[in-house]
Symmetry: C2
Subunit: 207 residues, 2 copies
């Protein structure tokens, strides 16, 4: 099983497992069974075992998985073992929240630079990051930044992405509600808050 192509859905779940394992380690758990991890993450035990089996034999029969070892394995698979630096483009309400967001650290992610067009906020310092003029965006190449988060208005999204790619960015987390055209070598993940919310009523029973 180990040699076949790895499902995208498996990759999508790996960070969920990591989150669960952190909770377990906070409880000083040394080993964890798939059933036990399932309680933390809300995913069935057989799915968890299958997912891990694509990458190797991480567990011990009769015992379970070593929490610390498993965390390391997942981080290695996701390439989170080396710290990853990201640039934020667009420091409006949402961008500001992302800049202040404390949750990236556990994944080894770090917002290392922030850019905006608004002269009123350029130069302002938030959490050790000084907001820079967007004209300096192409400079991230020298700083070895390969990830970006964009939180700019829809109409500016595509041009921002074009500049980022030219500057060497290969992974983009996009908060603009639009489809972005990028070369195959670049991965885009779009988070559209209102779109996700728009799905909720469908699943709700008729009041």
């Amino acid at each position: 099983m180990r040699y076949s192509r790895i499902p995208d859905e498996t990759i999508r779940r790996l960070p969920i497992y990591l989150r669960g394992l952190i909770l377990a380690s906070e409880q000083d758990q040394k080993n964890i069974s798939s059933t036990n991890l399932a309680d933390y993450v809300g995913i069935f035990p057989w799915q968890i075992r299958k997912d891990f089996s694509y990458f190797g034999d991480f567990g011990t029969r009769g015992v379970g998985y070593n929490v610390v070892k498993l965390m390391k394995e997942i981080k290695r698979i996701l390439k989170l073992n080396i710290d990853q630096k990201a640039a934020l483009v667009g420091v409006g309400n949402l961008g500001m929240a992302i800049l202040a967001f404390p949750g990236f650290g556990i994944y080894g992610l770090d917002i290392a630079a922030a850019f905006d067009v608004n002269p009123k906020i350029i130069g302002r310092k938030i959490k050790n990051i000084t907001i820079e003029n967007i004209s300096r965006l192409s400079g991230i190449k020298k700083r070895k930044i390969k990830l970006a988060v964009i939180a700019v208005p829809r109409k500016a999204a595509q041009e921002t992405v074009d500049v980022l790619i030219k500057a060497g960015v290969r992974g983009i987390l996009n908060f603009s509600p639009c489809y972005l055209i990028v070369p195959k070598k670049v991965k885009v993940i779009t988070i559209d808050i209102s779109m996700d919310m728009a799905r909720l009523p469908y699943y709700m029973p008729a009041s």
Copy 2:
């Protein structure tokens, strides 16, 4: 085909189509073919046609889909034809950004109330919404609010959800990085920003 179960993935795509149709209508397009819509949304034409076919014959052979009619059909399917009111719980950095977010309107969604524990911000007014004390959360039942967005710290998430469900909420957009236990009648969609970002390095070519 019309009578079988509708794929979740199809439901996930419907708001994307709606977004594309709005772009098309802004260009004063009256009709749109699946190929044309595909250009707006980045989804293959055959997938678009298949998705719509689950619900009925929305198009005209040789012509395409009527933009306005199709928008109405999608809104009806997603139950967005009646305006949906939502409560926001947790008005920190992220909650504030959500409150200021202009994108809900196109889906007929409306943040109608906001709650927090912080006395410093209770009473403050943002975009016509006065932030209320979280102790008044159960009062949303009388206001016919069936949706909620939670942007509270992880440790407060489960208890917040419990209160919301008791107050009649049936759909929850969760920004807390954790798994929430809810009864089957309640739908939760979790957005975990750092988790989505943590997936990017996996897809990036080794530098």
